[in-house]
């Protein structure tokens, strides 16, 4: 299946990009996607296997580690929110 992955704020800067489009096999939850991303290289490991909190949204709704992924999903990863 194919998912679009978006990166925001500090993560976008650390990765030097704002999105990836990934063809995935056997990656069927947010946590599995996060582990998959952590293995893509040093910058990805810093973001996805580092000590800072990683929030996720699937199709613009806040998600948790076990949220299932489906073909065509848009998954966004971002740090803690600091609006207002």
């Amino acid at each position: 299946m194919t998912v679009t992955v978006l990166y925001f704020a500090r993560f976008r800067e650390q990765l030097g990009r704002d999105q990836d489009t990934l063809a995935l096999e056997g990656v069927d939850t947010v946590m599995a996607l996060r582990q998959h991303l952590a293995a893509r290289g040093a910058a990805y490991a810093d973001v996805f296997a580092g000590s800072g909190p990683v929030l996720a949204a699937v199709n613009e709704v806040m998600a948790h580690a076990g949220t299932p992924l489906r073909d065509g999903d848009v998954v966004a990863f971002f740090p803690m929110l600091t609006g207002g």
Partner: protein
């Protein structure tokens, strides 16, 4: 009952927000309007920039306003948030309500601000002496938002 929410890269017009809230006068006995401003931190901050997740930020802000409307007896709820670059003294966010009763008005406006700070996908950075720095989430904001957790359960799939 009426809700007006927006995310905007233009300056937020305080007077327009105030006028809209006061326009339910007669039914409403109380209007509370909160303005969040860019603080200069005694000269340490020269610029603030807000990034958002377009699409999601608008939707979450609108949902929060609707949820607040469902918890308190309100005639009007307004939540306008600015994104992009701002100078010290400029308005980042306007949150206001009109209600028959002042207790409800104060509580609802305060709650909506707590939720806006912690649930809308927005990220702040500031330009100071050390360059552009991302702002960390404050424990105080998370604690303030946690007060409403039972009445405003976090969405999630």
């Amino acid at each position: 009952m009426s809700v007006d929410t927006r995310i905007s890269s233009d300056a937020l017009p305080v007077q327009l927000a105030s006028d809209w809230l006061h326009a339910s006068a007669g039914a409403s006995g109380a209007v509370v309007l909160f303005s969040g401003l860019v603080r200069d931190e005694r000269g340490d901050v020269s610029l603030l920039a807000l990034e958002h997740y377009p699409g999601m930020s608008e939707r979450v802000l609108a949902e929060l306003a609707q949820q607040v409307m469902a918890v308190w007896p309100l005639q009007r709820v307004l939540a306008w948030h600015r994104v992009g670059a701002m100078a010290p003294g400029e308005v980042i966010v306007l949150v206001g309500v009109a209600s028959a009763h002042r207790e409800a008005a104060f509580e609802a406006a305060s709650c909506l601000m707590d939720l806006v700070k912690t649930r809308v996908p927005l990220w702040k950075r500031v330009q100071g002496a050390g360059g552009m720095q991302w702002v960390d989430a404050r424990d105080k904001d998370l604690a303030a938002a946690a007060r409403w957790a039972d009445r405003f359960p976090l969405p999630g799939q």
